[in-house]
């Protein structure tokens, strides 16, 4: 008997017995497990003799396979490639067979060998996580036909009625031992004591069976909760049905620290489930205020399973999209990146090996400045100039050839991004679509920002350094063309940074006045450009070391709509104590109300007043300890420090109570006057507030204040002197003018 239904794809994985298992959520609300055979084909190329030897070897392998001699298309080779093609009946068996084969025959070139199962399936059936499908199946769950009904590029897919179970401890496990676990599902809320754990396990099992959630949304689930629950469940012999799929353990990925481009990166351990999706809010690169929606959008676009999409890097996301394009277009997916750079002369290297154009700004305070930015510049260039590893390097800002693999992959993504951004611009925040569009927009940005870097990445399958360099070359050209357009129209270009320009002209204040400029730039470059906003005032900061040296991308200012923008200041701002960041923002808020230079100067006394009260609160112990917590990343293992940094010293304290941190993780601490100068925040006892190193925090605060005040003629020294001078000192409220382009002086 055949059954037909339409529903959404929840999960997909391989199974030794059933081929590929597919979990669906039907329109009627049923969760159904289906399966189908899904043989996997990969291939090898190389000298005929070796291929023959490989053929013989394969014939002797236990796996059920079909061999054939075929031809295929390698992106980097013109003309067909002769292949030994291996079709493995069981999807689950392919990876191991490939591993053995590549060890036995390391010199062959392999294709389509290590592609994620979800991508392979997506390439054939056009599915993706939560794709809406029409399915027909037999009584015993064998899929007979499968048809994808929607596309990842749809703007408003029908919302899927997912069942979400939320799990959250009552505090950060790194900080203290949680005592209560809060579990919620729709309108039901439960609180379970963590100790004793047996009742918790029983209750949790009951909830899992009763609600049968599709998604387990946890906080610290990867690094703490789930490993703990699994361990206790085994210890007490109480099976916990975290998976929906019976008879399976969960996937447990270990934590790791690794070195990447000069920085240590840390990944926590991961727990993935079968038939159900586990997402840890604290372990997801995409988790922002938009939460789950961002992850779902990323999964839609990349076709990666939700659990993978939530935890993976954007590079993997982009790579998946490229692989999909390749497989659907009949292009082979190489296992290793083989291509090397074509030889170029040293002089050419000098010309092309540059990054984005970074212009030195005219430092000082400027009013009525428009910031115009190219929209997704690098991806747009990649699409417009047809930059792709198999295409010739472009010689102008455009292309006469058929789109290559990279533009084919990026074009629909870019289109969706622009459409969503435009819609968001018109939408009111209370529109029911607003949150979802914001989430989608973050996911798009996350992917697009990476695609350029990925083009130059040494391990990218479809990367090529010449293409990567071509993108920056045309980016620089586009920026220069924009500068010329602005100057031709009478604007002064105050600053340029990779894809943005700051321009100014006497009499130009309203946003509409800049439209002709935008049009001229778009005409000359063929790229989209938009007005980010007009600043009431913006100040470009010079070097801290030498005020005569301009520093690119270091500025702050207020737009006409009152919003604030800041770049390049206190680079590790998220590590700074909340107290300092808040004081800085309070000081800025006062300045933000001003629209002209005289108004700014008139507000300086008030700004200094904010600083003074903050210092008073600090000195009199009124600042809560949690607002003084500093963060710092560990750059290496403890033993590798010659002189321990504050973070290292804090780590030593944590080690004493049995806690540890890996390189790449952040350690939080307070500066104190006693002991070794720091007190780790995750220690059980808090330090005596009287031991706080007030002098050090005062110094940090004044330094942070100095950054704000320096453009208006207040050096750190002058601030110190004013503070020391007492309340009666008069402030000269003169007018700051720009004597010449390098300085602004208070007279």
């Amino acid at each position: 008997m055949t059954r037909e239904f339409s529903g959404w794809l929840l999960d997909l994985f391989d199974d030794a017995r059933d081929g590929v298992v597919l979990w669906f959520l039907t329109r009627d609300g049923e969760r159904i497990r289906l399966h189908q055979p899904f043989p996997i084909t990969f291939s090898a190329a190389g000298p005929a003799q070796e291929l023959r030897a490989a053929w013989h070897w394969l014939r002797q392998q236990p796996e059920e396979i079909k061999l054939a001699r075929t031809q295929g298309h390698d992106l980097f080779v013109s003309g067909p490639v002769t292949l030994l093609s291996v079709e493995v009946a069981s999807a689950a068996a392919q990876p191991r067979l490939f591993q053995r084969m590549s060890e036995a025959f390391p010199d062959l070139t392999y294709y389509d060998a290590d592609v994620n199962l979800a991508l392979r399936f997506a390439a054939v059936y056009n599915t993706f996580p939560l794709a809406h499908c029409r399915v027909s199946c037999s009584d015993d769950g064998l899929v007979e036909s499968l048809e994808g009904l929607d596309s990842p590029w749809d703007l408003d897919p029908e919302p899927v009625p997912l069942r979400i179970l939320t799990l959250e401890p009552d505090c950060d496990p790194q900080h203290a031992v949680p005592r209560v676990l809060r579990v919620s599902y729709e309108k039901f809320n439960y609180e379970f004591k963590m100790d004793p754990i047996r009742p918790l396990l029983i209750n949790l099992r009951g909830l899992l069976e009763r609600f049968d959630p599709d998604i387990l949304l946890s906080t610290w689930g990867d690094t703490w909760l789930l490993p703990l629950l699994l361990e206790e469940s085994e210890h007490h012999n109480l099976p916990l049905p975290l998976n929906r799929e019976p008879n399976r353990g969960v996937i447990h990925r270990k934590e790791k620290s690794y070195f990447s481009y000069g920085v240590i990166v840390y990944h926590g351990q991961q727990i993935h489930l079968y038939g159900r999706c586990h997402i840890d809010r604290r372990n997801s690169s995409l988790w922002g205020p938009d939460g789950l929606d961002g992850i779902l959008e990323s999964a839609r676009l990349t076709a990666l399973p939700m659990q993978t999409a939530a935890r993976t890097s954007p590079g993997t996301g982009i790579s998946s999209m490229q692989i999909l394009t390749a497989m659907r277009g009949g292009t082979l997916v190489p296992w290793h990146k083989q291509q090397v750079e074509r030889p170029k002369s040293a002089l050419d290297l000098l010309k092309y090996d540059q990054g984005g154009m970074v212009y030195q700004p005219i430092t000082g305070v400027h009013t009525n400045v428009a910031e115009i930015d190219f929209i997704s510049m690098y991806p747009s260039i990649m699409v417009r100039c047809n930059i792709s590893p198999e295409k010739p390097v472009p010689t102008f800002l455009g292309s006469n050839e058929e789109p290559g693999l990279i533009p084919q992959t990026l074009a629909p993504l870019l289109k969706k991004r622009v459409t969503i951004k435009t819609e968001l611009g018109k939408m009111k925040p209370w529109d029911p679509r607003y949150r979802r569009y914001q989430a989608a927009s973050s996911a798009h940005k996350w992917l697009l920002v990476t695609c350029f870097g990925y083009l130059g990445y040494k391990n990218a399958r479809f990367g090529r350094i010449e293409s990567h360099e071509a993108v920056t070359t045309w980016g620089r050209e586009a920026l220069l063309l924009a500068k010329e357009a602005a100057e031709d129209m009478g604007f002064t270009v105050l600053h340029m940074y990779v894809d943005g320009l700051w321009v100014q002209q006497e009499g130009y204040e309203r946003p509409e006045q800049f439209n002709p400029l935008l049009k001229e730039v778009a005409d000359r470059t063929g790229l989209s450009i938009a007005l980010d906003g007009v600043y009431r005032w913006v100040t470009f900061l010079p070097s801290r070391m030498n005020s005569k040296v301009p520093v690119p991308n270091r500025y702050f200012g207020f737009f006409q709509d009152g919003s604030f923008k800041m770049r390049g200041i206190d680079a590790r701002r998220h590590d700074m104590p909340e107290f300092i960041v808040k004081t800085q923002m309070d000081m800025l808020a006062v300045l933000g109300q001003a629209a002209t230079l005289p108004e700014i100067q008139a507000r300086i006394p008030q700004v200094l007043g904010v600083l003074r009260s903050a210092l008073y609160n600090l000195r009199t112990g009124r600042v809560p300890l949690d607002q003084l917590v500093m963060g710092q990343r560990l750059s290496r293992v403890l033993s590798a420090y010659k002189t321990p940094s504050p973070a290292a010293r804090a780590l030593m304290q944590l080690n004493e109570i049995g806690k540890d941190k890996r390189p790449g993780q952040r350690v939080r601490f307070l500066y104190v006057r006693t002991g070794c100068g720091v007190h780790a925040w995750d220690l059980p006892e808090k330090p005596d507030p009287l031991t706080i190193d007030v002098a050090l925090y005062r110094k940090l605060l004044i330094r942070a204040a100095g950054t704000i005040l320096q453009p208006f003629g207040w050096t750190d020294k002058r601030v110190q002197e004013w503070l020391a001078g007492g309340l009666n000192e008069e402030l000269s409220t003169g007018i700051a003018i720009q004597l010449e382009k390098r300085e602004s002086v208070l007279i």
Binding site: K351, Q360, G456, K458, I465, H468, R476, K548, P552, I747
Partner: protein, 107 residues
């Protein structure tokens, strides 16, 4: 990620560093003037990068000269406007330094 050559800023620092012996042997006041020259050249690093000169010091020297010339033009304009007023009147506020219509308007 694929960058091989040092950035123009790094190269600039190298060049500046290579003159450290020269700098050391100068008088302190001359050292400060030399520092000003190098600081001035930093205004045009983006153009120097774009120029892709295999001997970037040449471009840095040209940048220093460019800034010096701009200063000369500015001073020349300033001097001409002061001399343009018949009586020697010390400017008390910047507005006074800007010429009105010409010599006739001087007091």
């Amino acid at each position: 990620m694929g960058r091989t050559l040092p950035s123009i800023t790094m190269e600039f620092m190298q060049e500046q560093e290579s003159f450290s012996r020269f700098r050391r042997a100068l008088r302190r006041s001359d050292q400060l003037a030399l520092d000003d020259l190098f600081a001035a050249a930093r205004n045009h690093l983006a153009a120097a990068a774009y120029a892709a000169n295999a001997l970037p010091m040449e471009t840095f020297l040209l940048s220093m000269l460019l800034e010096e010339h701009k200063e000369v033009i500015r001073l020349r304009t300033l001097v001409e406007s002061v001399v343009g007023q018949a009586a020697v009147r010390l400017p008390q506020a910047p507005d006074d330094a800007v010429p009105d219509e010409g010599p006739e308007s001087a007091s």
